[in-house]
């Protein structure tokens, strides 16, 4: 009798399942179509304020260096291509290639209309309550290429 058996332990593989980008894209698209763009933003605010709270706290204590480290690790893990220009009070991040959008398209999907909110709303929320503000410039919906700026708010400048 033909029998196939596969036994794997967690340490046998690296945790990296890029198709989760497609699943999140479907979720964002579903939320927007059924409950509107405001629901997408509210969901992402709720998620980011709870899940990324430790990152927000690190930014409060260490400044933008904590965010720089987070972004470098994130895009390295995802095989993304970014350039970072960093100073203590300001950081710009050029995302040349968005791994999520590349994967969604590779699988034959189209990024949801509000997909950019997974960057815009998420980083706005992460920085809430810190000395810094965030802006996303030149976002290209087709590739996810974007320029992100993080800078100290004027109120906090001395």
């Amino acid at each position: 009798m033909k029998k196939l058996l596969m036994r794997r332990k967690a340490r046998d593989n690296i945790y990296y399942h890029p198709d989760f980008h497609s699943a999140l894209n479907i979720a964002i698209d579903y939320l927007e179509k059924n409950h509107g763009k405001s629901a997408v933003k509210e969901y992402l605010q709720q998620f980011a304020s709870s899940y990324y709270n430790p990152l927000t706290e690190s930014i409060k204590k260490q400044g933008l260096s904590a965010l720089k480290k987070y972004l470098k690790d994130l895009y390295k893990k995802e095989n993304g291509d970014i350039d970072i220009v960093y100073s203590k009070d300001a950081m710009t991040v050029l995302i040349k290639r968005c791994p999520a959008i590349l994967h969604i398209k590779k699988k034959g999907g189209q990024p949801a209309k509000s997909f950019s909110e997974t960057t815009k709303t998420v980083y706005e929320t992460i920085l809430k309550g810190t000395e810094y503000e965030f802006k996303m410039l030149n976002y290209d919906k087709k590739t996810g290429r974007a320029l992100l700026t993080f800078r100290k708010k004027n109120d906090f400048m001395h």
Binding site: M1, K3, L4, Y15, L24, Y43, Y51, N53, K77, T118
Partner: protein, 143 residues
């Protein structure tokens, strides 16, 4: 961009958001929608290869998810079984102490896969009685 390695947390929070705002039915409606849109590879493989399609599908996903599992295919019995010793998704949720997982998180595995497999002539059973320890068991048989 939310990293695909953070997806499970985003997913669980998504279920919570839908449930809190629009009720349990909204969560089930979403799972049905996700099954139709997202599990297209599983449907194609099972349509083409029968029970072996299950083996092919989960060989890829469970390895990419670095799961701790045993998978078994007995083609002559048309039976496929996954014993999940430690689910990578649930264990991530349990490990992330600052986030409370969606109370019925594991149920999505019942709804999503059943919706694909039953119309293709398979019986799908899932034992979630130990899901609080990130363990479960799935058995798929051709009817």
């Amino acid at each position: 961009m939310i990293s695909c390695t953070d997806f499970i947390l985003a997913y669980s929070e998504f279920f919570k958001f839908l449930h809190e705002r629009y009720g349990k039915k909204a969560v089930i409606d979403f799972w049905n929608y996700l099954s139709d849109k997202y599990l297209t590879d599983l449907r194609k493989l099972v349509k083409k290869y029968g029970i072996k399609g299950c083996w092919m599908y989960w060989s890829k996903t469970l390895n990419e998810e670095a799961a701790n599992f045993t998978m078994e295919l007995i083609e002559e019995k048309n039976q496929f079984k996954i014993t999940m010793h430690h689910c990578p998704s649930k264990s991530r949720l349990l490990k992330t102490k600052h986030i409370e997982p969606y109370h019925d998180y594991c149920k999505h595995c019942d709804v999503l896969y059943r919706r694909i497999l039953e119309p293709l002539g398979f019986e799908y059973t899932i034992d979630l009685s130990k899901s609080n320890k990130a363990r479960c068991k799935i058995v798929i048989r051709q009817k």
